[in-house]
Subunit: 306 residues, 2 copies
């Protein structure tokens, strides 16, 4: 089989690791949100690509979910003394990735090629594909105006009210040509934030149609469990948008795209409503605390598709 998994950062990367553990590199490809990307201190930061890279390399910080484990913060402390921008935390080892990527991009490599080179150096054999090599920038629309995603997410700690989102550049961006649409046997939308992790991927010009044209089953795993987000601002955003923070609403959000939908055991009663949207459903334990949980969920999702 060839599985395509769409993912954002932390939450999605957990299930992605599960797939990487149960499928060989030739049977799964990860397509990653780059709407979070931004220029910072003259570097190109690609938070979701980096989180997935570190996660698959098993060097990710298991507590934070982003960055590297056993990280040190000498650079940040020194930068603070200079009065530099320290709201975005860059660890000493993490910095090497960012400076090296800058070098690679400066040599003319695409983000895809730079990502491949970096991941290979960390021993990652699975393909990590940015959704596009063209810039797409997610903005969170708030009552005080639009906010660049990292300003909303990190600097302002998701405090501003979200009234909408835009994905600047998505219309003009080309789908990553390395995505093997023609050979896909299944597509999984990992349990990432639908609004700011998955929607930017789907917003890339032609992506949605290309996914549907494969005819492959498209499975979504709900990031909302028992009315709460496992991590991140998904539930808060839904409330602010006037949408109940339920797994059913996540399914509605993906209606017209998704054919299969995974609800968590605690939301088992929602299956009927999701099924009414024309989706096949299954109830699984979706909260992943350990690597075993990730592997088990990956296997169960594959089972569901088959």
């Amino acid at each position: 089989m060839t599985l395509l998994a769409l993912t954002g950062g932390v939450g999605g990367a957990k299930l992605a690791l599960g797939f990487a553990k149960v499928l060989p590199p030739e049977e799964v490809v990860f397509v990653v949100n780059t709407g979070d990307d931004f220029e910072h201190l003259g570097l190109h930061i690609s938070p979701d690509v980096d989180t997935l890279t570190y996660t698959l390399a098993e060097v990710a910080d298991p507590v934070a979910g982003w960055g590297r484990k056993d990280e040190t913060w000498r650079f940040m402390a020194a930068l603070e003394r200079f009065g530099g921008e320290t709201w975005f935390r860059l660890g000493d080892a993490d910095l090497a990735l960012h400076l090296h990527r800058r070098t690679l991009l400066g040599l003319g490599l695409s983000l895809t090629a730079a990502t491949r080179e970096i991941a290979a150096r960390l021993g990652v054999e699975h393909s990590i594909l940015p959704m596009s090599d063209d810039p797409v920038r997610t903005r969170v629309l708030s009552p005080d105006g639009p906010l660049a995603f990292q300003h909303y997410f990190v600097r302002d700690r998701c405090a501003p009210k979200a009234v909408g989102f835009e994905f600047a550049g998505a219309e003009a961006a080309s789908v990553n040509p390395a995505i093997p649409f023609e050979s896909l046997t299944a597509i999984v939308i990992c349990p990432s934030n639908p609004f700011v992790s998955v929607d930017p991927i789907l917003a890339v010009n032609g992506m949605r149609d290309a996914l549907l044209a494969t005819g492959a089953p498209i499975v979504a795993v709900s990031p909302i469990v028992g009315g709460r987000a496992i991590k991140g601002p998904t539930a808060k955003m839904m409330r602010e948008l006037g949408i109940p923070a339920t797994t059913v609403e996540v399914a509605k959000h993906y209606a017209g795209l998704v054919s299969h939908f995974v609800v968590d055991e605690v939301d088992a009663c929602a299956r009927t409503k999701v099924a009414a949207l024309g989706m096949q459903t299954v109830t699984l334990q979706t909260v992943m605390s350990s690597t075993d949980d990730r592997v088990q969920l990956a296997r169960a999702v594959l089972e569901f598709i088959r």
Copy 2:
């Protein structure tokens, strides 16, 4: 008084620290070689400016003479794993200076303004002035062709034979307009390498004439003591250029510019020959091992000028 001290990195910075200890900020200005500057990993590295900044801030590594004390090297280790260029050692805390300078230069600040801002943040009150805000790039001419200075100095560890030097851009560069030529009462050439630390400063278009036009005494402190360089490749270069590695030859090198010349006690017998060049001479203990040595030599040099 207003003293102008011309300096390169390690050797010169030692005496510069002595002057900073005995003269208040309004009485001494440091003019620093930027011929060593280069672009590396997308950063503007200014080795001599940084060494002087760290030295005056008293955060310099006392053993290496460059970089910061108590430095850590997580970034370099991670960069090595990516296959990045690791021949130029950038410590985790040192990196903050380089990334912050990039930010400042990106905002349109001159190298002088960026240097002032950075030094102030480290508590340095004395003026550190790059010789020019325009790029000057020292190249070491070797039998195999020209080498960018840091490639010669760091990457190749001064192994190639030096047959000459060039200071690309010096003709087109303007002398730093912040240098207070009109009010100088004395000029000191610190014990830096004459060929690759001091000559680039003197090569900046108009610098030499501007120094002479002040009419102030110009004192040089020999970096060659007992036929050897205290640190660095000065003696090796002199031998390769077919010049005896003696303090007399250093004095000859500065003939026409320097009015006063400091020889080390071990070279006391050279005084007659130096005096024959028309220079006033003094014999001092010039090898600086401790901070006290730096202060003592600074005082003695000031005494000599007065």
